[in-house]
Symmetry: C2
Subunit: 154 residues, 2 copies
DNA sequence: TATTGTTATACTCTATAACTATA
DNA sequence: TATAGTTATAGAGTATAACAATA
């Protein structure tokens, strides 16, 4: 049945979607998450878990709620995330010194090594992805534009 | 308990996350989706459903699978999406002329009006968000950079 | 009263596999 | 045999509400 040639992906008219930052951001981000999954498959961590490790590594002793706020999600979501990282021996809950309600989070020694290795992986694929950009200048400009968009309110 | 001043969000060190396009893309996109939800709350459509309408409007007669491929997701996910849009009388499944396995998708008259209205809403908030960019020149450059990143393979 | 971690819960999004009817 | 739509299902991600312990 080839009477009417099928529209290939190239022939689709995306209309307004092509001019919408929201749609373009989503497509770009989906590609990055998919690539992250490929590159870190054997490490057993998602972009979300990687972000938790990154925050705790640079800000040891932070509470779960503080990490959640930094990453922009609910504190209830941190429970499963920290559980998972703790069960992998990458992260540690210690009793907070001045507040018996909360925990202070720290990377374990293994977690530190694991994170260093993960950063190498992610940096490697980030650099590969950034090859479609025009050098470090365009990348820095893009990072800056994305930060502005992430913080823009209506 | 204010012996040790709490780290505010501003004081958090994001480390490598600050230099990772993947993380920055996610934060920017989350902001856009949240704003989309606010602006289109009463319309009862998500960014995903809006995208389906946009594709069908510009490419009437496309099959469900073709729309799914255009948007980069699985055809099984289209069933619920088209069901929802059809139940709202915005979109119509018609039997395809040459293939009794597939449907051809079309906007209804109401769907056309609904979509025009939705485009106005979304364009309005898109323009508002784009005010943190340096004019149409930077926006066009950004759209172009995002397209490159969305299509980049390792 | 307010806050931390937690649990239960639910909702969305997404993908996989298998089924059916067609091709 | 291959494809379109469908179904069932499962996983991840995210959010809300309520609770106990603590501030």
């Amino acid at each position: 049945m080839q009477d009417q040639p099928k529209k290939s992906d190239q022939d689709i008219d995306f209309g307004v979607l092509d001019e919408f930052l929201g749609y373009r951001l989503r497509r770009a981000q989906m590609n990055f998450f998919a690539k992250f999954g490929e590159v870190c498959e054997d490490l057993g961590i998602s972009p979300g878990l990687f972000a938790v490790l990154a925050i705790v590594e640079r800000n040891p002793g932070l509470t779960q709620t503080a990490v959640a706020q930094a990453l922009g999600n609910d504190r209830s979501a941190m429970v499963a995330a920290v559980d998972k990282l703790e069960s992998k021996n990458l992260l540690e809950r210690r009793p907070a010194v001045n507040d018996r309600r909360s925990y202070a989070l720290f990377l374990t020694a293994e977690g530190g090594r694991f994170f260093d290795n993960a950063v190498k992986r992610v940096s490697c694929y980030e650099n590969e992805m950034a090859k479609c950009l025009d050098g470090d200048e365009e990348k820095q400009w893009l990072l800056n534009a994305l930060e502005r968009l992430a913080n823009k309110s209506l």
